[in-house]
Amino acid sequence: MILETVSGRKEVPDACRELGINETAFRALRDRVLQSAVEDLEPKMPGRPKKTVSGEQEEIERLKAEVWDLKSHLEAANIREELRLILPGVLISPGESTLEKKRRRRREKREKQRLKMMKQRPDTSGSQGGTPA
């Protein structure tokens, strides 16, 4: 109806009668429509407008990230513990150099051999203790 009055196909009083409003209200309405149409054609920033994140949402996201981080560290600690048991050679202490690692491995090997010897000793002495018949 507004566009018809703008193009001149319909008179304003006729349109007012059809809509059941007075002429002032009709003109105000028409101005509003035309104004918004012109505003819509104004150049704007491309893309979707930035989503506004509330403070609460931000806090939730931060806590989620923290939980994930803690879970990862817990899992890493579990894996480290298992590695210490199953593949002890791959673990390095923070800041340990290659030379230190080699020394540690040598020390561990010596310790292992010593324990093995100690384990075998009572068995050997026990069976050799008696005189054969």
Partner: protein
């Protein structure tokens, strides 16, 4: 995994020598490597670098990379470690068993090793 490791170790002790004995341990080691790689992948998805993950696990970056390569090559296929064991011939084995039967219980592994110098100690221990 810890309990599984203890069980596997005990099982391997019973199995004897050679690849058969070390297979359960090698399999468990492979499972452990796979677990580490899965963890690394998960961390990568959340944006952590390989170096950071390696530091988190207290292992070197090169070890983690070599496991990754191993996974790409043959899915971390199990390879036996060490040289193949030298098995005594049947007569020698029978000789040891006879000797153990004859001298039991006063026969030690060292004594048998002196009697059968060519036989591996582990073989004698297992036969005992």
């Amino acid at each position: 995994m810890t309990q599984c490791w203890r069980h596997t170790e005990a099982q391997a002790e019973k199995q004897g020598r050679g690849y058969r004995a070390q297979k359960p341990v090698r399999e468990l080691e492979r499972r452990m490597r796979k677990r580490v790689l899965a963890f690394k992948k998960l961390q990568k998805m959340s944006g952590r670098k390989k170096k950071t993950t390696a530091r988190m696990l207290s292992m070197s970056l090169s070890t983690l990379s070599s496991w990754e390569r191993g996974w790409k090559d043959d899915c971390l296929g199990i390879k036996p470690l060490g040289r193949p064991p030298e098995r005594p011939v049947q007569d020698q084995r029978n000789g040891i068993i006879d000797m153990i039967r004859m001298l039991w219980p006063e026969v030690s592994a060292n004594m048998l090793m002196a009697m059968f110098p060519g036989v591996a100690k582990r073989e004698i221990v297992l036969l005992r």
